[in-house]
Structures are given as C-alpha cells and as structure tokens.
Symmetry: C2
Subunit: 246 residues, 2 copies
C-alpha cells in the first residue's frame, strides 16, 4: 500500500464538480474508475476541494492509496490513458501515508476570467464569463483590495448557514488585471466558503459596472447578518482552481 498525491486538471463543463454527486457525473467518479482499473479494486480519491458544477481546474490536488503501487510516472501515463480528454493527471508523486489533500492545504489560488467586449468568441465561451458593458478595472481593483486580510465572508457565501464552522477566511491577495478584452481576477487565500470566489467575482463586476462603490466591500465584510442579496454569484465556467498550496 502506497499513498499518492496527484495534480489534476479538468475542463469542468460536463461535470457536476469534483465530488461525487447524486446528480450528474463528478470528476471524482471518472478518476476513481480509472484508478480502480489500475488497482484491480476500488480506490477512493480524496480531493482538496469540492469545486462547483462547471468550474475548471489546472492545479486541483487529490490523494489516494494503491494496493499495488506503481512508479508515479507510470501512474500518470496509465491513468491518463483511461481518463476522458477533459480530465488529466498533470503530475503524480508518492506522499507520506497520512498526507491529506484537503486538511493539509495551506491555501488556494483561483482565477476568474471575464471577457469584456461586444462578442464572446465561441472558443472562449467554455472558460470565460462574459460582460459586454465596459468594466472599470481600476474600481474593481480598489474593491478587490478590501478583500485582502482576515474577514468574515458571510456576505460572500452562497449560503452562510451551510458553512459548518466559521465564515471567517483570510485572503492573501486579490488582483484584477486587464489584457485587451480579458479581465482576470486572481485570488489567493487560506480557504474559501461555498461559492465565495464566484460571489467575490460577481460583486467585483457590479463595482466595475458602477452599480456599487469599491468601499461597499468593506461594509459587506462587516455586515452581520450577511447581505448576500447584493452579491450575485458569477457563472461557474469563468472559474479555475489554479493551485493548492501545502
């Protein structure tokens, strides 16, 4: 028996998220099927996060044990040969036997992409949210600056009551950059509530449209009870889990 850590990339368009669901196909399901074939018995692959339906990943992390260990490089080839093209093991390594992809994570980096032009080219549609009205990127960055630090993000959770422990999280950095029609929000933090990044992105878009002032973020971070009604959830397809830090 050996424990493995893998880095997973996927196009989430056709999945209900990473975690096994009663509705829809989960990334975990196709991964576990490929691993079970290799291991000749069922394998449970524990992920670093859930990720929502339609959300993508470039650096998702999972851990699992194999009864019949094989070298990590061979594992990458063998698993990829059995996975659909929209899920790929990018890296694999042996891990210590108590390594836990979720509990050991020190932080995560997400990227949210918004295409800001008259028309969204079809080839970008699976990976970019779309806004045809001009966005004020400076105002968005000013608002993003208020996210940085340790705050109660209850107003930026889809359902604050769903969070089992606390709604306090620490954001290490949050930048908004524009390159032509592409606006990228990159956010790093120690952890994220359910739909938090999409709520932050949804609110930043409202700021970019002039519907809210940047300072509104500061107020929402103080509001108890939370005021999620002012905070729309941006579509899942614009979101990538970029990296998990250990």
């Amino acid at each position: 028996m050996r424990r493995y850590k893998i880095v997973l990339a996927y196009d989430g368009t056709n999945y209900s998220g990473y975690q096994l669901q009663t509705n829809g196909i989960a990334v975990q399901q196709v991964l576990e099927e490929a691993l079970a074939y290799l291991n000749r018995s069922p394998v449970r692959a524990f992920g670093s996060s859930r990720t929502d339906a339609g959300v993508h990943a470039r650096g998702f992390v999972a851990h699992f044990d194999l009864d019949k260990p094989i070298p990590p490089a061979n594992l990458v080839r063998a698993v990829n040969a059995r996975l659909p093209a929209d899920v790929r093991v990018m890296k694999a390594s042996y891990a210590r036997k108590d390594f836990d992809a979720r509990k050991d994570a020190k932080g995560k980096e997400y990227r949210y992409g918004i295409y800001n032009a008259d028309i969204l080219p079809p080839e970008l549609a699976p990976f970019w949210a779309f806004q045809h009205r001009p966005l004020d990127v400076k105002a968005m960055q000013a608002a993003a600056d208020y996210f940085v630090g340790k705050h109660d993000f209850a107003s930026f959770a889809a359902n604050p009551k769903r969070e089992i422990e606390t709604t306090v999280r620490t954001i290490f950095s949050c930048t908004v950059k524009k390159a032509g029609p592409k606006i990228l929000i990159v956010v790093k933090g120690d952890g994220f509530l359910y739909k938090q990044v999409r709520s932050m992105a949804g609110f930043l878009v409202r700021v970019g449209l002039g519907e809210e002032k940047p300072e509104a973020v500061r107020d929402l971070l103080r509001d108890v009870p939370p005021r999620t009604a002012r905070v729309p959830t941006a579509p899942g397809r614009g979101l990538f889990l970029q990296k998990v830090f250990y």
Copy 2:
C-alpha cells in the same frame, strides 16, 4: 429584400459541420433558426464551405436574404442573442444582391494545431490535436514547402472520386511554426478538396515523426492513381477555418 454577408465563428465540437445533415445538428440549422425568428419566415443561409464534423471556424462566411432588412449592427446583436454560445456572428454587412459566399471565394486560410508534449491540458483538448512523440518541425516545413503551387491533390483527398470536377488545387502558402508545445500549420489556397487540410496535416505529422521523408509529398502529388492509404486524416478538432478571401 436585402442580401447580407456575415462572418461566423463557431466551436464545432457539438456540430456535424456547417451544412445541413441528416445526422446530427449543423451550424447552418441553428443559424437559420435564429434568422427565421428575426425575419418571421424561413431563411436559407448559404455557406462558403461545408466544414466537417467537429471542425471549428473563426472566419466562416455565409450569405442570406432578409425580407425585412435591419441594419447590420442590429442584426449581429439580434442573431447572437438567439444563437447558442458556441456559434457567434462576428461581423455583418450588406452585400450586393448576387454575392455568393461559396462561388465568389477567391481563397481560404486554415489553421491546424497540434499539441506536442507528454500531456494535453484538458482546456486545449477541444481545439488541438495531440502527439506525445516529438515532432521534427523542420522536416514538416520542408514537406509543407512541396504543397505550395498548383498540384493534383487527389492523394490528399479523403475520397478523390467524390470530387465532382477536378482534384487540382493551388496552395498559396503552407507554414509550420512551433511555439513551445504548440505546433501550428497554416495553409492558404484557392480551394480545398474534401478533408484535404486534415490529410495534409496527417501526412505532415508522419513526416514529423520520421515515418515519411519530406520529398514523399512531391511524389504523392504526382501519383496517379492517388495513394491515400499513406495519408491519414488528422482529427477534425485541430482544424480552424480562419478566413475566406474575396
């Protein structure tokens, strides 16, 4: 009644090609449905090419007539509002009443993309062919040079007997460029046989793998009867129709 010329982009993944088919959904079908709604009566949209199942477009051209003309800019917005996200009208203009998207075309530009690395990232899978064995780009360019000029391309047609008139075509240019793991074949010509670009790309990959010499292209262009058995058809998903010249 006014005639329009439009430039169309589409992600061909979920389509049987541009042209109406008995099997699968064609891009023409979703376009004509959107136009018929606007026009309040059926509209036939004639394309510059057929394009195969799974092939993409950035600069496909079509023409059609509307009984109830509207300004081109309004047409773009109105049609895009009714099209699925994987098909977009990028531009529209009035055309002279005998403009024909297919017959008036003076040439076309295609781009074929091959991702040459150990692993194909999932987000590129819809738009790039994949080859994990290293490709010799210099040999591919040397082979591509033989395509340029006026030749009988019967050996590079999926079914030479299907071509109604002649299998002679003129290639204006054919370049093979590498940027990191991305290899792009760009080919311009006055017209293309059924699956010609994919056959050219398929053969260039064989040259890149060292399975054929660059000079083999010259010989195949002279072979009568054609020798299509040596020429594999590269997958449709790597192909984009980039531009149609008038």
